[in-house]
Amino acid sequence: MIKKEKHTRIKIVFLIAIIALMLLSLFSYLRIRNLIDESVLVNHTQKIKLELNKTLSILQEVESNQRGYIFTKDSVFLPPVDSARIILTFHLDNIARLTNDNQSQVQNALQLRTVVFKRLDYLQKMLNDAKISNLSTQRFLTGRKLMSEVGNQIREMEKEEDKLLQRRTSSMNKSASLTPLLTILLIIGSILILVSSYIKIIKELRISDLLKLNIESTKNELELTNKELAFQNKEKEKRAAELIIANKELIIQNEEKEKRAAELIIANYARSLIEASLDPLVTISASGKILDVNEASIKVTGVPRESLIDTDFSDYFTEPQKAQEGYRQVFKKGFVADYPLTIRHKNGNQTDVLYNASVYKDDQGNVLGVFAAARDVTEQKWAKDLRIANKELAFQNEEKEKRAAELIIANKELVFQNEEKEKRATELILANKELESFTYISSHDLQEPLRQIQNFSSRILANEQKSMTEKAIVYFEKINNAANRMQVLIADLLAYSRTTFAERKFEIIDLRIIAEQVKSEFEEVIEVKNAKIEISEMCLTNVIPFQMRQLLHNLLGNALKFSNPDIPPHIKITSSIITFVQAPNISLNPEKEYCHISITDNGIGFEPQYKDRIFEVFQRLHDKQKISGTGIGLAIVKKIVENHNGFITATSQLNEGATFDVYIPNN
């Protein structure tokens, strides 16, 4: 392919070169033709001019002779007008022939002929008149005028001829002026093409030489390899022949082995079948000794194979004589069918069987022994009972299916109820959100006017006391007290609602940290009341931190608030992880761990019958004038404990302090 392409390229190059050379020749030929044409034209013009000059000179010569004759009347000067007419006619004819290629010149020539002969006629007439008389000056003037007409005509024609020549040669020159340039360009082009194609051809030749060399060496190598391969081939053929022989041998051995294997498989298979049989199978010799047994026989007698073989067959039956009678019958008849016997197990168990037996013989037909198979019939007895039981079960099954169908209906009902509950839950979430925003309003908008009341009343009490009556002062104090109570109430209500609605994030917290913080919040009261607070054995547990804090705050606050005015308060806070506790009115899960927080005080306590009531909202055991409070604190505590899935109990006797026990699951 590549080679072919290269060849075509070379061909094209040469074709171009040839075309260039042909163009070159064509140009040269045209140029020469041009030059020849030019010279012919010039020649032509010169000839016309010559003829014209001759015409004029002949005419002038005749005229000069005429003048001579008129002056001298000497016949020597008598001009040869007739011969001049002939010569002039010859020349004028020449002119007419030469100029017949040009229409204007033809006209001019005719005109010239007319003027020339007119002059000649007049000259003849003057000569004739001169012979008779003297000629007037007028006649000479007319002669000169005619002569100048001839001259004019000739000059006209010469001019015309020159013009023609110039026009023709200039057009030729124009075309000829490009010729040398083109010629040079073509020559250079041809040279370049020839040189480049020369280089190309040389290169090609070199490459083809190299290729030839390569092919030659490859050829040699291939010949060598071929010989080698041929040798190897022969070797392999030899080996193959040997292998074929070996193979045949192997196939024969293989077939032998397969045959043997097949025989073994059949034997194995037969043995497996015998072993797999649930019926006890046994072969017995003519003397009644056991020759072989299967697994079922071993099972039914409870005696191992080795102990069974070579012992008396009849030994393993409840009635040995009946057994002996049985196999004797077989030897006699050749077989027995459904012969009832009872096999005795080593451990005393008995199995009712029916024996089927026949003799077996060698190739020559000699009896070798008996092959006996026992069918256990106890199972058949069972089967009857089982059928009855089955019916009962089928009936129960139907009942259960009915029950299942009922359950499916009940389930659907439950799913429906569930959906309803989910709807209700969504509604509750919405309601909760509304309540939360209400909480925010109460925390701000309710407190604002209240604070103003407090502020103004306190300002009045501080600054305007002098201008007020005693009564007015008392009233303002009451206003102030009422406002303060309301503020506490709002704060407590907020805290209560927060324990219900706020997010519940459990964290593992060291209760000691919370207890210490809460204690520090009561610093002032502790100092005033000279209280002693013991925080001991605090543990880590999983709680909602801010709620647990609120819980301890309320419980400790209560312990301080309800103190005995005569004794400084002594409060103990402890917490520990417990697994089980015996406590009245609460039921802890014995499998769970609990965090037990206990707060004990030595305050005024309460009567035991109130131990549950105190946890209800707005429940107060004391006069609010004596002890301030809203009756919400313990309700909040209860709620927090419930949020933690825990329990709280209060134990107290009036004036003997109180103990609050909190149990929170420790997850």
Binding site: H444, E448, R451, N455, A462, Q487, A491, E521
Partner: protein
């Protein structure tokens, strides 16, 4: 001399604050504004004359621009971001406390309900010199002192 700004829409509360401040030993000048928008105008326009306040007391519920918006703007403006801001609100709603602290409030106090308590509170807050050490007081420091 410490300069204090108070932004509160309640005229009475502004008056209480002014009266309480007068009775405190610390030398102060108080500038009061009626809402958040006015506060921001004063802070941005008059930053150099008068000089920026030493501390701003900021109410939360205000018309035009509330306290949260003001706090956010103050903390986002490079020239203002280091001015201590004390939230001064009627409400002790936990969400409000969390939000203002996360936005960089230095202290949150509940408006006290008596002249004496207000005086004491302002005194304590100013004694913390926020302008010298840029610190955040514990979230519930004054909430509990008041109730």
């Amino acid at each position: 001399m410490k300069t204090i700004f108070l932004a509160d829409d309640d005229a009475d509360d502004r008056e209480f604050f002014e009266e309480a401040l007068k009775e405190i030993d610390i030398q102060t000048t108080l500038t009061t504004v009626k809402d958040g928008a006015e506060l921001m105008t004063v802070l941005v326009d008059n930053l150099l004359d008068p000089p920026p306040p030493h501390v701003i007391f900021l109410d939360l519920n205000m018309p035009r621009k509330n306290g949260i918006e003001c706090l956010k703007e103050i903390r986002e403006t490079p020239r203002l971001k280091n001015i201590p801001v004390v939230i001064f609100s009627t409400s002790a709603y936990p969400n409000a406390i969390e939000t203002t602290y996360s936005l960089g409030a230095n202290c949150y106090i509940c408006k006290p309900n008596s002249h004496q308590l207000l005086k004491k509170t302002i005194e304590t807050v100013l004694s913390h010199n926020f302008w010298e050490r840029n610190q955040q007081l514990p979230k519930d420091k004054f909430l509990l002192a008041i109730s």
